[in-house]
Amino acid sequence: MTIKESPHALRMLGPEPVEITLHVNGQVSPLLLDPRTSLLDALREHLNLTGTKKGCDQGTCGACTVWIDRRHVLACLTLAITCEGHEVTTIEGLAQGTELHPMQHAFLAHDAFQCGYCTPGQIMSAVALLEEGHASSDAEIAQWMSGNLCRCAAYPNIRAAIREVRDAKGETSYAPD
């Protein structure tokens, strides 16, 4: 195939704000967004979902971890406009109504945080880690949680919380429906 034979140039959207539709936590949200807007800023500033935190804003700390199509990724390095047609899940989407997710319970029970700023990202990674089957040992948990930094160094307690949920697991999925 030679590309010159195919003159279909795509229509560029923006740079002025563009109408897009995001699917977040099962809700459909039409938004008017500058194409530069990160998913993180779209969640926090436009959808008022402030559970997802902005730490480094350069893909280093993991505080902004969310799921896109159930895979945990960094919202700060994701442009919101690229998420159209995909399902985004944030920490606000983890509880079932007023019932906290088992991982949220376990973080409370094990005091797996001090300041709490990294906690939403830690929990989104922790649930994904169990779904993926990367929590067989403390060493494996540490390795697969390394994308989430905790300035307060609550790491032993975070690992304890993850172990508890891992060991309590029945046949059910860790992720919400």
């Binding site: 590309i3 195919s6 279909h8 795509l10 560029m12 563009v18 994701t78 390394s146 994308g147």
Partner: protein
Amino acid sequence: MRPISYARATDIASAIGTVSADPTRAFLAGGTTEVDLLRQGVVAPSGLVDINALPLKQIESLADGGLRIGALARMSEVAEAPGVVEGFPVIAQALVLGASPQLRHMASMGGNLLQRVRCSYFRDAFSPCNKREPGSGCAALDGINRGHAILGTSEQCIATHPSDVAVALVALDAIVHVNGPSGERAIPIDDFFLLPGDTPHREHPLAHGELIMAIEVPALPMARRSLYLKVRDRESYEFALVAVAAALRVDDGVISDVRLALGGIATRPWRARRAEQILVGAPAEQASLIRAAREELAPAIPRRLNAFKIELAQRAIIRALETTASKGGAA
């Protein structure tokens, strides 16, 4: 971050056509380097063509024992693909030891090859940097250069190539398949990564609008026992100080075939051909490995803070080769 326009491509031809039509447009895949550098003002395209919906995600085991990895396959997907884990563990290990789980879910294989250097003077969008602004100088030469390269450097640039998996792919003689305004072509990976020389802003041979389609890995039976050794300042989520991709075949106590490549110490993923030349036909004993490692590092040019890499690299080479040999010896 300057304003950008955006389009989502659903077919390869229009993706390439749209980027080719304007020299200030760029492709957007996983975004893990590009969005970061956009925000820091290091790169400034006027428009992004999102290629994530293109059908380039397949990871295929070929009938002859090789692999074909789609350019948009994610690092995490390739790391867990059975054909990769069993046939080419060096690739799987290099991927799992790179970045973080979140970044591995995002980053594409094509983007991995094209990732930009981690030199802080390149990324600060301010210091003299011949890569970012040709002719402006190199702040790393006399700066904080502990992480910088000792092989393949020039007086223009000493930035280390940051990829892990590219080191494995260089050891395996991979082939990069691209498509673009002038049609398709296949680039041997040895020709894909350019030395900085006097043109450090040129990192690869792709023309504007050329897009990586797939990475092909030729069959190599001894790769089933290959390994990737990564030495770094912390155990996880850190770039290599030294990394070694190794595959070895020993017959009757003699090294009959070897593949060796180095990361973390060179301006490109570094195929250790000087060492390979010494190793092939040599007795499979430590003296051969020591001699080969010393020969590979002989041309190294250390800077003020990175001279330790010369010794570290030799030890890592020896350990990687010993470990590979002990995993199976005769094929």
